[in-house]
C-alpha cells in the first residue's frame, strides 16, 4: 500500500511540476491543483497508513488511543484543502483578468516574439 501511495503522490506531483512550467496560464492553474492534491495526500499519509481505524471515539465506550487513527493530519488536510481551494480560485480570477486585459493567456502577459 505504501508503495502504491508513494508512487501515486510522486506521479501527480511530477505532473504538476511539469504543468506549472508550461507557458499558458490554464496549464499553470491545473498544475497547481495537481500539486495541491498530491500535497494533501502526502499530509494525510504522514499520520501513518492504517486500515480500519476510526478517527473518532465510539460513543459510550472508553476510547483506546492505540486503536484510533491519528486525527491531527486529517484536521490539517482539511484546513489545507480549504486554503488551497481559496487561493487557487483567486488565481483563476487573476488569470481571467489578465486574459481580458492583456489579450493573451501567456504567463508573461504577451506572446513570445511580440
Amino acid at each position: 500500500m505504501e508503495t502504491v501511495l508513494a508512487l501515486g503522490i510522486g506521479i501527480v506531483f511530477a505532473s504538476g511540476i511539469w504543468l506549472i512550467l508550461r507557458p499558458r496560464t490554464f496549464q499553470v492553474l491545473i498544475g497547481l491543483m495537481l500539486m495541491s492534491y498530491a500535497v494533501n495526500l502526502f499530509i494525510f499519509a504522514m499520520g501513518r497508513l492504517a486500515v480500519d481505524r476510526p478517527p473518532l471515539t465510539p460513543a459510550g465506550a472508553v476510547p483506546d488511543p492505540a486503536a484510533l487513527a491519528d486525527p491531527v493530519p486529517q484536521a490539517l488536510v482539511l484546513t489545507a484543502i480549504v486554503i488551497g481551494f481559496a487561493t487557487t480560485a483567486l488565481y483563476l480570477v487573476v488569470m481571467i483578468g489578465a486574459r481580458g486585459l492583456a489579450g493573451t493567456d501567456h504567463v508573461d502577459g504577451e506572446e513570445p516574439g511580440e
Binding site: 500539486m35 502526502f42 499530509i43 501513518r48 493530519p73 488565481y91 487573476v94 504567463v107
Partner: protein
C-alpha cells in the same frame, strides 16, 4: 484564579484587525472618511497595544515571555501565542509602517479600487499572527491570510503591469505554500508535534533516521520562508512585484519580506540550537552562503537597474540577504546588531518606496527623455547654471528626504543605517569571550556588506543626480500634506533610532539573548497552566437510569 487582564493583550494584534476588517468589508464605496477613520483607529490601537506589549515583555513578565493559550488548551495540544521581546518589537514596527502606509493611502490610493481597507486589515492580521504564533500549522494559516490579502492589495488599482506581476507573484507563492505544507507534514511525522517549543524539546532525543527526515522537512519548510525572504535564487519575482505594486502596498511588502527572515530566525534558533545534540547548527552554512549570494545578486541588480521601483526592490533583497547571512553566522551578539539592521533598513526602505512615487512626479516625460539622452550621448556640457532661482519647498523636501533614505540604505553616517552596520562590524570583529575569532567567512561577510553599501550609494546617487540635479525642466511637483507626513514620520523614526541607539540596542540585545536560550522557551510555553475552569456546584445525586424513550406513535 484568573489570568491578569494584561495577558489578553497578546491576542489583540490578531483579533482587532480581524474584527475591524470584517466591519469594513460591507461598507459601500464612497464612505471613504468613515472607512479611513475605522482603519486608522484600528492601527493606532495596534500601535498602542504593541508598545504596551514591549513594556510588559521588557518589564513585568517573567523572562520577558508572555504566553497566551488560545481556547485554554495546555501548550502542546492547543495553540500557544507567545509575545517575547522580539515579537513585541516586530509588532511595533508593523504598526508604525501600517500607520505610514494608511496615512499615505488616504488622499488617493485607497480610492482607486475597491476594498483597500478591509484587505489592509487582514494583511495586518496575518503579519501580526505570523509574529506571535508558535505553532507551525498556525504559522501556515497566518502566512496564507497575509499572502491572500497581499494578492488582493498588489492587484489594487488593476492595470496590465500589476496583473502581470501578480500572476507570477501568486503562482510562486502558491508553490511555496505547498512546500510549506510538505515540510510541516514531514516535521509532524518525525516529531509528532507542531508546537515549536515542544519540537525543540524533542529534537535531541530523535533517532538517526527520524533526524534525517526532520532535517529534510525543515529544509523544505525553509524553502517557503526563503521564497518570502527572497534568498537567491528564489527571489527573482520580487523586484517586478515591488515595482508594480502601489506605494502603500509596497511598504507592507517590504515588511513581508522580513517576515520570512524572522521566521527563519525563530525556527532555526529554537530547533537547531546548540543544545539540540546531533542536529545543532544544521543549515547555518547554507543560510550564511545563501545570504551572501543574495547580497551579491541584490547589489548587482541595484547597479543594473535605472527605475526607482526596481531599485527599491533590489535594495530590499540586499537587506534581506544581509539578515539571512547574519542569522547563518550563528553568533548572538551579531544577531542583536542584525535585528537593529532589520528595523533600520525596513523603516528606511519603507520611506523610500513612499518617496519614489512623489519623486516620479518631478520626472515629467520631458525630463525623463532629457535624462535618457544625457546618458546615451554622454553630453558633457550641461545646460546653463541655475540663475539664482530659489528651490521650491517641495523640491527641497523631496531631495532632503531622498538623501536621508539613501544614506540610511547605504549605511553612511549619520543615520541609523550606519549605526546598524557599525554594530554588525563591531560584533564580527569582537566576538566576545569564549568564541572563535573572526575567520575568513567573517571577513567575506564584512567585505560584502561594505561593498553592497558602496554599490547602494553609487546607484542611489546616480538616480538622485539625474532626478534632482539635472532636471531643469522639471515642474515642482504637487504634494499632498497627507503624503508628505508619513515620509517625514518614517524619517523621524529613523532619526530617533539613531539618537536612541543605545536603549534600542540594549533592548535588542536582550531580545537576542532570549531567543538564544531555547530551553527557557520550552519550559515557559509547555509549563504554562491553562486557566482553571469555574468550580462546578456539586453534582446532584445520580439520576435514575433513563427509561428508554417512548416510541413515537
Amino acid at each position: 484564579m484568573n489570568v491578569a487582564w494584561t495577558q489578553h493583550l497578546v491576542v489583540v494584534p490578531i483579533v482587532l484587525p480581524l474584527l475591524c476588517g470584517a466591519a469594513l468589508a460591507p461598507l459601500t464605496q464612497g464612505r471613504h472618511r468613515l472607512k479611513f477613520a475605522l482603519a486608522y483607529g484600528s492601527v493606532l490601537a495596534l500601535l498602542a497595544n504593541a508598545l504596551a506589549l514591549v513594556a510588559l515583555a521588557d518589564g513585568s513578565w517573567p523572562d520577558g515571555i508572555g504566553v497566551y493559550l488560545a481556547a485554554n488548551w495546555a501548550a502542546p495540544f492547543g495553540i500557544a501565542l507567545v509575545a517575547d521581546r522580539l515579537a513585541a518589537g516586530m509588532l511595533v514596527l508593523t504598526a508604525i509602517l501600517a500607520l505610514a502606509a494608511l496615512h499615505y493611502a488616504q488622499p488617493r490610493w485607497s480610492r482607486i479600487g475597491v476594498h483597500f481597507h478591509p484587505l489592509f486589515q487582514f494583511l495586518l492580521m496575518g503579519i501580526n499572527g505570523a509574529f506571535l504564533t508558535h505553532d507551525l500549522f498556525n504559522l501556515f494559516v497566518f502566512f496564507e491570510v497575509m499572502l491572500a490579502a497581499s494578492y488582493g492589495l498588489v492587484l489594487h488599482g488593476y492595470n496590465v503591469e500589476r496583473l502581470r506581476a501578480s500572476l507570477q507573484y501568486i503562482a510562486v507563492n502558491l508553490v511555496a505554500a505547498l512546500f510549506f505544507l510538505v515540510g510541516t507534514a514531514l516535521v509532524y511525522a518525525t516529531t509528532g508535534t507542531l508546537n515549536m517549543a515542544d519540537m525543540a524539546g524533542r529534537v535531541g532525543a530523535l533517532g538517526a533516521a527520524d533526524l534525517g527526515l526532520l532535517k529534510t522537512g525543515i529544509a523544505v519548510l525553509a524553502l517557503a520562508f526563503l521564497v518570502k525572504a527572497a534568498m537567491w535564487p528564489l527571489g527573482f519575482w520580487l523586484p517586478t512585484t515591488y515595482a508594480a505594486a502601489s506605494p502603500p502596498v509596497a511598504v507592507m511588502l517590504v515588511l513581508m519580506t522580513k517576515v520570512g527572515a524572522y521566521v527563519i530566525l525563530r525556527l532555526w534558533l529554537l530547533v537547531f540550537s546548540d543544545g539540540a545534540g546531533e542536529a545543532a547548527r544544521y543549515g547555518y552554512d547554507a543560510l550564511l552562503w545563501g545570504g551572501m549570494a543574495t547580497i551579491v545578486f541584490g547589489a548587482a541588480g541595484m547597479l543594473a537597474t535605472d527605475t526607482a521601483g526596481r531599485l527599491a526592490g533590489y535594495a530590499a533583497i540586499v537587506s534581506s540577504g544581509t539578515l539571512l547571512a547574519v542569522i547563518g553566522y550563528g553568533q548572538a551578539s551579531l544577531v542583536a546588531a542584525g535585528l537593529y539592521y532589520f528595523i533600520a533598513s525596513t523603516v528606511a526602505l519603507a520611506g523610500f518606496v513612499l518617496l519614489i512615487e512623489l519623486v516620479d512626479r518631478i520626472r515629467t516625460p520631458g525630463a525623463a527623455i532629457l535624462a535618457l539622452t544625457a546618458e546615451a550621448y554622454a553630453v558633457e556640457d550641461m545646460p546653463a547654471e541655475p540663475k539664482g532661482k530659489g528651490v521650491p519647498a517641495a523640491m527641497a523636501f523631496l531631495s532632503l528626504a531622498f538623501a536621508a533614505c539613501a544614506l540610511t540604505i547605504a549605511g553612511l553616517p549619520p543615520l541609523s543605517g550606519f549605526v546598524a552596520k557599525f554594530g554588525m562590524f563591531h560584533a564580527l570583529i569582537n566576538p566576545g569571550p569564549g568564541l572563535p575569532a573572526i575567520g575568513a567567512t567573517g571577513w567575506t561577510l564584512m567585505a560584502l556588506v561594505f561593498a553592497s553599501g558602496l554599490v547602494a550609494i553609487v546607484s542611489l546617487m546616480r538616480f538622485g543626480v539625474r532626478t534632482f540635479w539635472a532636471t531643469e525642466m522639471a515642474a515642482p511637483p504637487a504634494l499632498h500634506a497627507a503624503e508628505v507626513a508619513p515620509v517625514a514620520g518614517l524619517l523621524l523614526v529613523s532619526v530617533l533610532l539613531t539618537v536612541q541607539a543605545a536603549p534600542v540596542f540594549d533592548y535588542l540585545a536582550r531580545a537576542s539573548h532570549d531567543i538564544h536560550r531555547p530551553g527557557l522557551y520550552v519550559d515557559r510555553v509547555l509549563g504554562m497552566p491553562p486557566v482553571p475552569g469555574p468550580v462546578l456546584p456539586a453534582l446532584p445525586p445520580a439520576l435514575p437510569p433513563a427509561s428508554p424513550p417512548a416510541e413515537a406513535p
